[in-house]
């Protein structure tokens, strides 16, 4: 057989043609199936290949203060985001980026972790500056998967003055996501949420609804542009929030609070319990936290021994000391174990012997026989020892607990400490163990009656209690946000006479001759209040000064108090000299602005006589101060002790007495934005010897 015969060739050629037809028609059928029959599916696939949804962050609701001033709003900011990708290339991109953006190695690791956990884009810098953004945009090809967009950035206009109130926002963490506060149907990774303070408390309200945009990407994750054809869902802004807070008052407190001291100031409106100011020193600037706090700032805040992140006004627990005597008095009046005019059986001789030991009064000179108002005015411990015994430990514990000294105030903040107070006798053993195997003795009532013993309260709690004294014995829960209705507070069953008697006692504290007179006497307003000298673990051992308390009520003369202010200065030593002026100046600022009187930085009587002659209004307001001496010699009002306040001006006593201060600077005129002319106490605890040398409560 000739294998190359034409017939044979023809037969084999048919076979070869068949092979071509078989293979190529298989291909054509394959392409037909994909391109014609399955085209829609694949086109969709192609779209999803390169179209990604990116969130459009919603602007948070604006926060306003009681006058409609902006406390927190949003400004446009740049954020840098990186899309997920192979770990190595993402890491390399981040490392390249660290030339233009502040990115520590730890932060790179954190971002890598976050990307691994979420499996989606992560924000590298939510608060990028323009230079970094411009640098990245110029080198786009070097940064695959990186995109820059504008997003609203939170701005806090009070800055450091109000950090503890406003709190701050930050990117939601993996732990937060999916909790009750951050349900997954509303929140997703990468969102900015309230972390603390009002931002956290009203998160649900302030948080808007994220929008969505569709963006075209290339295979290396570079944004090509917005994708046309699919509707973008716009972001919906969050709801606005109106506060009872007075932003300028808060700022004022920030100015007048002693620079280097720690403490808290709370100002409440007795009308509705609205929080006018809630200040804690030292503080922090919430703006630092926006878009992720810089590692250095975070380290500094945490390393600070004064703990600027700790909100002393609602979390700090301090022995309320003498400020608590009003509670003892109120309970006693309520129970009817004493009347305002009664004196205690035994006079104060500087100490009192009971239960086989001597119980001292703060003033070894003694106060003699005091009625209730005098006892409050003198802060006479001996009177209150006897009053405590009359009430009895059992009743004292029960009533105090009833009126809320072991509860929270219920302020609208995410965190608040509960007052520490024994609610029943067993509490002692539960708390302190078998030292109290046989229960506390009645002697505990003596301690508690003067605000000592296991009694720790927050400044806010004490402010709420003084609101009750400024009203009729009831006090609504302090509220930061307006229009939330008056939450249930507490009820102290006191008659008008009882309130009047208690207020009379408070008036004596600030009246001429009272312990807090100089620092609280104001031109336009009556200030009533109570000082307190709170022992603390360091002061008990003589290592530091006591905490200084002052709780004050203020209002136009002869009328109901219109503001309640409580100041606590840690290691401030003297409630009358350190805390009281803060309260008076705070109340003065608030009331002057309320009544349209220009604000001055020279407010209290002490400030006046430090900087000038005895003011005319002082003679009119406090004629009693001049009753026993010729009006030309108000020498007794000059500071009788070498106080820290006299140092800056070094005015000789006689020139103060004659009403002429040589070279004293002129008084500041009415100020809209008060400057700080009179330096307020700024001595540090360690260096200021003169402050320690003083005596008295």
């Amino acid at each position: 057989m000739n294998i190359h015969h034409p017939h044979e060739l023809q037969r084999r050629a048919v076979g070869a043609h068949l092979a071509v037809a078989l293979f190529l028609s298989a291909l054509i059928v394959g392409f037909f199936r994909i391109q014609v029959l399955g085209s829609d599916t694949w086109a969709l696939r192609a779209a999803s290949n390169r179209i990604r949804t990116l969130p459009i962050p919603a602007p948070r609701g604006t926060i306003y203060d009681r006058e409609g001033r902006i406390v927190a709003d949003n400004v446009p900011g740049y954020s840098i985001t990186i899309l997920p990708g192979p770990r190595d290339s993402v890491r390399a991109t981040l490392e390249r980026m660290s030339r233009y953006v502040e990115l520590s190695d730890e932060r790179v690791e954190r971002l890598m972790d976050r990307m691994r956990v979420y499996g989606r884009e992560v924000v590298v810098d939510a608060n990028a500056d323009f230079a970094a953004v411009a640098a990245l945009e110029e080198r786009r090809t070097e940064f695959p998967g990186v995109y820059v967009d504008m997003r609203p950035r939170r701005r806090y206009l009070m800055g450091g003055a109000g950090g503890h109130v406003t709190g701050y926002v930050g990117e939601i963490t993996a732990e937060e996501l999916g909790t009750d506060a951050f349900p997954e149907d509303r929140y997703e990774a990468g969102m900015v949420v309230g972390k603390i303070g009002i931002e956290r408390e009203y998160e649900a309200m302030l948080q808007g609804q994220q929008g969505v945009r569709y963006v075209e990407f290339d295979a290396r994750g570079r944004i090509v542009g917005d994708f046309e054809g699919v509707e973008t869902r716009p972001a919906v802004a969050g709801e606005d929030l109106h506060l009872n807070l007075d932003m300028e008052l808060q700022d004022w407190i920030h100015r007048i609070f002693p620079d280097s001291m720690s403490g808290a100031v709370v100002a409440l409106d007795p009308e509705d319990g609205g929080v006018l100011a809630l200040y804690s020193a030292p503080g922090y600037d919430p703006n630092d936290f926006v878009g992720g706090i810089a590692d250095s700032t975070w380290a500094r805040l945490n390393a600070d021994e004064e703990d600027p992140l700790f909100n002393r006004s609602v979390l700090g627990l301090y022995a309320p000391a003498s400020t608590w005597k009003l509670a003892t008095a109120g309970i006693a009046l309520d129970l009817g174990v004493v009347t305002p005019d009664q004196t205690m059986p035994e006079p104060c001789t500087g100490s009192w012997y009971w239960g086989n030991r001597s119980w001292g009064c703060w003033d070894p000179e003694g106060h003699g026989y005091n009625n209730l108002a005098e006892a409050i005015g003198n802060s006479c411990d001996v009177y209150f020892y006897q009053l405590g015994l009359r009430i009895g430990l059992e009743r004292l514990l029960r009533r105090s607990t009833q009126i809320g000294f072991s509860r929270q105030c219920g302020i609208d903040l995410p965190q608040e400490s509960r007052g520490e107070f024994p609610d029943r006798k067993e509490w002692y053993r539960e708390r302190f163990g078998d030292v109290y195997l046989y229960g506390p003795t009645e002697g505990e009532a003596l301690n508690l009656a003067i605000g000592q013993g296991p009694n720790s309260q927050t400044p806010l709690k004490m402010a709420q209690f003084y609101v009750a004294l400024a009203r009729d014995g009831s006090a609504p829960a302090p509220m930061l946000a307006r229009g939330n209705g008056v939450a249930e507070g507490w009820e102290l069953d006191l008659s008008a006479e009882h309130i009047a008697a208690l207020q009379e006692g408070l008036r004596r504290v600030t009246a001429p001759g009272g312990t807090a007179h100089f620092g609280t006497a104001l031109e336009h307003w009556d200030v009533l209040g109570k000082t307190g000298t709170g022992q603390n673990p360091l002061s008990v051992r003589g290592l530091a000064e006591d905490h200084a308390w002052f709780a004050g009520l203020a209002g136009p003369p002869g009328e109901r108090p219109e503001v309640v202010v409580v100041a606590l200065v840690e290691y401030g030593r003297s409630g009358g000299q350190v805390a009281a002026p803060i309260v008076a100046k705070t109340a003065d600022f608030y009331l002057r602005r309320k009544y349209g009187i220009p604000v001055d930085t020279i407010q209290t009587y002490r400030e006046h006589i430090m900087t000038g002659p005895v003011p005319a209004w002082y003679r009119e307001r406090f004629p009693s101060a001049f009753r026993s001496r010729p009006a030309s010699e108000p020498a007794i009002f000059a500071p009788s002790e070498p106080t820290w306040l006299s140092r800056p001006r070094t005015a000789p006593l006689d020139s103060v007495g004659s009403g002429v201060v040589p070279g004293a600077p002129g008084r500041a005129g009415p100020v809209g934005t008060p400057d700080r002319r009179l330096p307020l106490p700024g001595p540090t605890r360690a260096s200021d010897g003169s402050r320690r040398s003083g005596g008295g409560p």
Partner: protein
Amino acid sequence: MRRILERWSLDPPLVLAVTALSMFGIAMIYSAGQVHVPNPVTEDAWIRQGLWFVLALGAFTLLARVPLLWIEWVAVPSYVVSVVLLALTLLVGEGRGTAAGVRSWIDLGFISFQPAEIAKLSTILALAHFLSQKDAALTSLRDLVPPAALVGLPLVLVMLQPDLGTAIAFVGILFAMLYWAATPVWLLLLVASPVIGLFLSYDTVVWSVYIVAVIGFLVLFRYKLYLFESVMLVLANFATASIARPLWNSLAPYQRNRILVFLDPEVDPRGAGYQVIQSKVAVGSGGFGGQGFTLGSQKRLDFLPEQHTDFIFSVVGEELGFVGTALAILAFGYVLTRLVRLAEGVGEKQPFAGLVLLGIFGAWLVHIFVNIGMTIGMVPITGIPLPFVSYGGTFLFMSWVAVAVAVRVAHERP
């Protein structure tokens, strides 16, 4: 005019068809360079391809004038040189461009080329020379050993580079030429049966049915083969089936992945399956009419892998749609049938010429089917270019040399 064309090309239908395909390829390479973020290398690839095309036309013009006798003379020496070059490649070979992982280039300083491309053509010539000496059909396994060894040597060397795609082209050459040398189809199938069995052994039932069919065939047509050969075949089938699992285990993970991904690309959409999926997405989104020349979005956005070389046909699919792919496939079909027609035409006087034409046919059929098939996941991904269309100088040049040889051997009448 027509005479000039005929005198220059010797076979205008074939030469015009491959010219059209080459220009189409340059156009598609140009389009493949049009991406969102331009890359200077791929952006200008079409210009280099155009220069190679001009060079290839020159080579064609020259080689189409070489007498058939010379071609037959050069067959064996060129085969030897090719094998030596392939062996050299294993020692001094380098990777290039999208095929950076294989040692398939030899760099001479002024030029670098792929010996495997030359080896394909010289193997065709050598095998044609060998088979044309036979005047009887190869009907026993023993007869098939020498031609298989002839092709097997370069094939193994290419496999070692490793360049699986080109190796498969050698298989195509062998089978097409054996077929043209009148080897019965059933014998070719039997030769292939152990390899087919290897793949079918993934499922015991399927393989059992298959081996029963093979044994059945050998029993029914027992007179066609020596008993010894039949036994060897069955044993070989059992052997490949039993080494299937160890062989699988000895594969590198990426190789296993490729096979798994071929069966289902979605098992590894970000890794080995990525290319298939992206290619199918591009081809599928082209639809019937395509997205328009240079406008393919998957291509522009860089989703397509190796879009100017191995996956050039995905660009065709995305931008020109089914119309474009079908026309391109038909054009290749025309080229292939033209080769068969030429082989048929040379008649009994020139068995060498017919075998050369079928060798070229076999190589191109494998290239076309595997390359185009892999863009839609019909064939596992192997790095194999599309003749005349894919970017690649040596390949385009050697394809045109093959065309020159084809028209020369087909048109020289002794």
